[in-house]
Symmetry: D2
Subunit: 391 residues, 4 copies
C-alpha cells in the first residue's frame, strides 16, 4: 500500500487523501480512505528531538525497563536523557540501548548533582514506595519537575511532605495515574458523564493478580506500605473516584490474608471495600494478590450497563455497553484505537512543563487516595463503617 | 508500581523478579510477577543507536507518515536516516520531526546520489505500485537493499525485472508482507500446522473496505495495476498460501464493478475467487472496495475451527478457536500481546542485512502472487476455471 | 416472583402490569416490568387442545424423536395424533410417551388407511430422502396435507412429481426449511432488506459437521441423493437465496472427497460453490461432512457487516452487526429471544391449513433448490461455470 | 434431515445412529452424528400423560402465564390439572388453552376443597409474597405438596410457620430457587468445586432491573416484604451461598432509595452487601430496581476467573472462563445446551413426590435466606457490620 504520488509523474491533482497536506507545520491526511485504523495522537505537537523535554528515569526495575523507557520511544514531546539507579552495571547496559551517555548515569546519592544539569528538566520516579518521600524532596531541591509512580507514598503524611517540598521549590508534581490518560477509560468516563445512559447506580471495580515471589518488596509492608490495596487496589479506588467525579462519604472494608501463607505475613492478600457517594452511587471494589488476573470496571446505570475489561491493564481493553439497540436488548463493543498510556501520561507532563500548567493528576489527587486508604485500613481493622465528611 | 530496589537501601537479597539480572548484555526479569502483559520482543537484539541499520523511506503518503515512520521509532535495530519524496516542503516537515537533517532529503530523480551515502543501507519503498519497477532498478544500481511495499508490481514481468536487478546488484529484496510477522497470524499458522485440530478442509479469507475518494490513485488502473484485488485482496491470496504452505492448482474468479459508479470505471470493486490446493483444501476469498471494513481469516478443520478477526488489519486482532473444552463445545479466545507488525517486518529485514540472510518474504514470494493475480484476472475475464501446474 | 394480585385482598387498583388483562380471548400483560425476557409467540393463536390441527409424524429417527415430537409439545395450534414408522416396537414406546393410542400407529404400507382418519389432517414426513417421492404421492392420495423434510427429494424430477401429486389431490405441500421461521435469521433478513446498511456486496455461508458413522444412510448416495451438499449445504444455498430474495445467474462448484476415506466413497465430503446474483452480489458457500461444526452466515454490505453464528443450527444463534456506533467502529450483538424453530414451522403449516393459505416454503421453493443443486453437481463434475437464465 | 430407515427398504443393518434403539423403555440414539446439539433431558423419565404428577397452579400473574404454565408443556413427569385464581374470567381463559376443565378452577377461598381432589397432588404457589404463609398453611391442611415461589415469605417467622405446617401435615415443601436446576449455574458450581482453578477468593453477584410501574405490588412493602433485595437480590444471596456451599459469618449492607422517587417510597431501590465466609472468600452483592438489566455472577479464583452473564435470567446465559490455554492467557466460552429451568425445577419436585425424597431447595433453605435478609436490613439500618455465628 504505497501512497506517495509525486507531482512530476501525476501533475494533475493528486488526491489529498493520500499525498496529504501541510497544516500548522504538520502533514495531515483527509479521511477519504476507509483504512484509518490508528489512534489519534491527541493534541500533543510533534517536536523535533532537540526541543523535547529531557527526563531522567529513576529506578530501573521491571516497570522502567519494560514499560517506561519503551514508552518514551513513542513520545514526540519528551525524551530520556539520564538514568538514576542503584546498580551501575545495569544502568550502563540500559543506557547504551537508549543512546544515553555514561556521563548521564547517576546513583541515588547523586541526586543533588542534577541541579547542574539543565538538560534534565524532569524525573520519572519509579522506585519502591517507601523511598518516594525522601527522593522527591531531594529532586525538588535540585529543581526538577517530578512524575512519581503510584502509590504516591506509604502514608498521607509523607504525601503532604512531598507536596510541600515541590510547592516550595516551585516544581511540578504529577502522580502517574496512567488510566486517566488511557483512551478506553476516558471513553467510559465521557459516556457516563454524557447522561445518555441515565444516572449511575452501582460501580464494580476489581483488580487482582497473583504474586508468587514471597521475597518481592511488594510483599513487605515497610517497603510497600501495604499489600494488594496500595499497589493494585488503588486503581479501583482512584478509578471510581475519577469516574464519578465525587468523593465517598461512607466506607467499609474487609481484609483477608491466609494464615498459613508466608507471602502474606505482613500484607493483605485480599481486600474488599464498599463506598457510598453523595449522589447515592454505591461502589464495590475488590483487589487480591491471590487470584489470577482480572482488571475490570463495571457501571450499572438507569438505561444501560458498561463493562470495561482489562480496565487497569497495560493493554487488552474491551469496552462493552449493554443497552437497547433498534428495539433489541444488545451489547455493543466499541473498537477504540489502543494507545500507549505511559506515553500519553509522559506527554501530558511534558506539555504541563512546556505550557506551565498543573497536571491533571496532581500530588493533591494522590494525597486524597492516601487518606482514603488509611480510612479503609482503619475500617478493616476495626470492623466498622467509617463516615467521611462530605466536603 | 515502581520496581527498582537499590542495593544501598535494601541490601538483603532484593528479588530478581523486579530488579532483574544481566544476561548476554541485556537486562531481563523473572516471571515472578503476574503482571507480564507485554509482547516478547522476539530475538531481535537491542542495538545502540549508532549500530542500527540506516533506512531511507521513499514516498511520504499516508502509509509512510502514519505507519512506517512511527514503526521505526519502536525498532531497536533500524533507524530512518533519510527521506525520498516528490514534495520537498512535506519532506522537510517530516524530517524535522524525526531529526533527519535536510541534507538527507532526496527527490525521486536523485536516487543515484544514494550511492555516495554508505549510512543509508536500505530503502523502504512506499510509492504507488506502477513506480516500483523503475525505482527498484535505480535503487539496486545505487547498491541499496530494498524493502518494497506490496503489491510488488503491476505485472509479473515487472516483478521479474525487479528480482533480476537486485540479484545482479547483489542487494537484498524483501516484499513488505507484514502479516507474516504479525503475532496473531503466526499463532494461527503454528496452530494449523501443529495438527492438533486435524487437517484443514476449508479456508475463508475476506478483506473489504470502502474507497470513497474517486480521485485516489488506487482507483486508477495504470497506477494501481488493478482494484481491490492487488491492493487488499492480495492479503487473502498471500495469507492463504502462507497458511497452507502449498500452491493452488485450480482457480476460479468473479469480478464485479457497479456499472454506474465512477469510482470503479477502470478497476474492480468486488473480486471473489476460489482456489483448490493439492491437499484438497478449498479456499474461498473475497475482497471489495465497496463494503465496510472486514479483514477476516477463517479455517475449518477436522477437529475445530479458527477465526482471526482483523487478520489483515494493523491492529485489533481477535483469535477465536472453536473446539471441545472439557467435554463442552467451546470457543476459546487467546490473548496474544499485540505488536507493531511494521516494526517486526523492518527488524526482520535489518537482521537479514546484518546477518546476510534471505528475507522470509522475498521477491520470489511476491512474484508468485503476481502470477496468480494474472491468472485470477484471466479467469474472471474468460468466465472459466484455470488449472495450474502442480509444481 | 409470584405475580397475581387477587381482587379480594387488594381491591384498590391492582397493577395491570402483573395481573394482566383479557384481550381477544387471551390474557396479556403490559410492559411495565423490566423482566420481559421471552420471545413473542407471534401471531399464532393459542387453541384449546381439541381444536388443534392433528398431525401424524412419519419416520421415527433422531430428528423426529429428538426435535419434531418435542417441538409439538410447545405448539398451541397443532398436536401429534398418530405415528407412521417401519418399526412397531419403537413406535409403541414413543406413542406411549406422547399419549398416542396404539390404534393410531401405522406402518409405511398402511398410508392409504389414513384416508379414513379425518382427525389426522397433516403428516410431517421425516424419512430418508429417497423415500419422499413415493410417500408424498401416497399421502396426497389419502388426502393429507404434507410438511416434508428437506431436501425435498433426490432429483428435480421427483420434486416435480411431488408438487403435481399434491396439486391434483388438492392438499398443501410445505418443505421444512426451518430457518425461514427462526427469529435470528428473520432479523438478519429484515435488517439487510431495510437498506440501513446499504447494499449487500458479499455473502459467505458455511455449514460443516463431521459424519463419523460410515454406515449412516446419509453417506449412501442412492438413499441420500448426495453428500454434504443436499443435507447441510442446502442451508447455505436456500439461506442465501432467501436472504437476497433473488435467484443466482452464475454458478461454479468444487467437490472434494478424500480418496482413501470409506465414508465418502459414494458422496461428497466437502463441497464449495460460488454464485453471482443479478444485483451483483457474490455468495461463497461451503459445506463439509469432514470439518467440525460451523454453521455461519455472513453478509458484507456498504455500511456494515453482519455475522450470524450458528445460523443453521437448532440453537445457539449469535447475531453480530459491525457498523459505526456514536463515532466508533463497533460490533453490536442483538439479544433476540430464542424460539423453537420446529414449533414455529409446524405452527405456520397449521395456520396455513386452518386459513387455507399457501405455505411460505412451498414445494416450488424446494424444486428451485433441487434444480440448482443439479447445476452445482454439474459444475463440479465438468470443471466449468454454469450460466443460468435470469428469469 | 429425515432420519428413519425402515427395515423393509433397507434391511441390511440400518445405522443405529439414526434409527436408534430401545433401552429401558426409551428410544435412544448413538453419538455417531456430529449434530447432537440439544440438552440432555437429565435423568427424568418420560411418563405417559396419565402417570404424571398433577399440579394446581395458584396465582395467574405474569410469571404463571408467561413461564410456569408453558414450562409444564415441556415437562414429561408433571402436568397442570387445576388453577387457583382470584379472577374467574381470566382463569377460564387460561384453563381453556391448557385443556383444564372449568370444574378444576378454584378461588383462593376454596383451597380446602382441594382435599377432595386426589388428582391434584401438588400446588405451585405463585401469589404475592405476603399471601404465602396463610395459603401454604391452608394447602398443607388440604394435604397438598407445595412448590412455593421465592421469596418464601416476608419474615423468617412466617417461613418457620410454613415449614411447621408442612411438617405437621406430612407434605413436601420446596422453594422455587430455579437457578439450582439451571444448567449453566450447575456447570459453574461443578467447576468451582472441582478445584481445577484453585480456591475461590472473591465473588461478585449483581442482579438489577428497572421497575417503572409505581403501582406494582412489588413496590409496596406490606405485600412484597421489601424492595429489590427480597425479589431479585435474593438470587445474589442464595446463588453465592449455593456456589460456595458455606454460610456467611459477617455481613455489611447499604441501602439507597432516591428521596424524590415515588416508586421507592416504601422499599429499597438499590441494595448492596458484602459477606465474608469461613473459607475467607468475600462476596460483593448488589441489586437494584433502578438500573437496567444485569444479572451476573463472577468468581475470582487462584488460577482463573469465571463470569456467568445472565446468571439469574430465564435465558441468555453466557459462561466465560479466563485461564491459561496452551500457554496463552485465554477466555473460553462453554456452549452448554440451554434448558427450561422452570421445567427442570418442576420435574425435580415431581420426582421427589414420586420417589418420596426431600427437595434440594427445601423450606429450610428458604428460611436461611429469610434470616440473612433480616440481618442485611438490620446492617443497612444500623450502619454496622453484623457478625453471625459460624454454625
Amino acid at each position: 500500500m504505497p501512497r506517495d504520488l509525486p507531482a512530476s509523474s501525476h501533475p494533475s491533482s493528486p488526491s489529498e487523501a493520500d499525498t496529504g497536506r501541510l497544516e500548522n507545520g504538520r502533514v495531515t491526511f483527509g479521511s477519504g480512505s476507509g483504512n484509518t485504523e490508528h489512534a489519534d495522537t491527541g493534541s500533543s505537537p510533534i517536536l523535533p528531538p532537540d526541543e523535547r523535554v529531557g527526563f531522567a528515569v529513576m529506578g530501573l526495575g521491571r516497570l522502567s525497563v519494560g514499560q517506561i523507557l519503551p514508552a518514551f520511544m513513542e513520545s514526540r514531546t519528551a525524551c530520556p536523557v539520564a538514568l538514576i539507579s542503584g546498580r551501575k552495571e545495569k544502568a550502563l547496559t540500559v543506557a547504551r540501548e537508549y543512546g544515553i551517555p555514561s556521563s548521564s548515569i547517576f546513583t541515588y546519592d547523586e541526586i543533588h548533582r542534577l541541579a547542574d544539569r539543565p538538560d534534565i528538566q524532569a524525573v520519572y520516579v519509579a522506585t519502591p514506595n517507601a523511598m518516594h518521600v525522601d527522593q522527591v524532596e531531594a529532586l525538588a531541591a535540585a529543581g526538577k519537575h517530578i512524575l512519581c509512580e503510584k502509590p504516591m507514598s506509604n502514608t498521607a503524611q509523607e504525601a503532604e511532605r512531598m507536596i510541600a517540598a515541590c510547592k516550595q521549590a516551585g516544581v511540578k508534581l504529577m502522580i502517574a495515574y496512567r488510566c486517566h490518560f488511557e483512551p478506553f477509560n476516558r471513553a467510559v468516563i465521557k459516556l457516563v458523564r454524557s447522561g445518555e445512559l441515565g444516572k449511575p447506580k452501582l460501580v464494580e471495580a476489581v483488580n487482582t493478580q497473583t504474586e508468587t515471589d514471597a521475597s518481592h518488596w511488594r510483599l513487605k509492608a515497610p517497603v510497600a506500605g501495604g499489600g494488594a490495596l496500595p499497589d493494585i487496589g488503588l486503581y479501583c479506588l482512584n478509578g471510581t473516584r475519577n469516574l464519578l467525579g465525587e468523593e465517598p462519604v461512607e466506607l467499609f472494608a474487609r481484609m483477608v490474608s491466609p494464615a498459613d501463607d508466608p507471602r502474606f505475613a505482613s500484607v493483605d492478600e485480599t481486600f474488599s471495600f464498599m463506598m457510598r457517594f453523595p449522589s447515592g452511587v454505591i461502589a464495590n471494589c475488590a483487589t487480591s494478590y491471590g487470584a489470577s488476573i482480572t482488571r475490570k470496571l463495571s457501571i450499572r446505570l438507569e438505561k444501560g450497563s458498561i463493562e470495561l475489561e482489562n480496565a487497569f491493564a497495560y493493554q487488552g481493553h474491551r469496552l462493552r455497553i449493554s443497552r437497547e439497540n433498534e428495539g433489541h436488548p444488545a451489547v455493543t463493543e466499541w473498537h477504540i484505537p489502543p494507545a500507549n498510556q505511559f506515553t500519553l501520561e509522559i506527554d501530558h507532563f511534558a506539555q504541563c512543563i512546556l505550557k506551565d500548567e498543573t497536571p491533571l493528576t496532581s500530588g493533591e489527587e494522590g494525597l486524597r487516595d492516601q487518606k482514603l486508604m488509611e480510612a479503609l485500613y482503619c475500617s478493616a481493622r476495626e470492623d466498622r463503617m467509617i463516615r467521611l465528611s462530605e466536603t
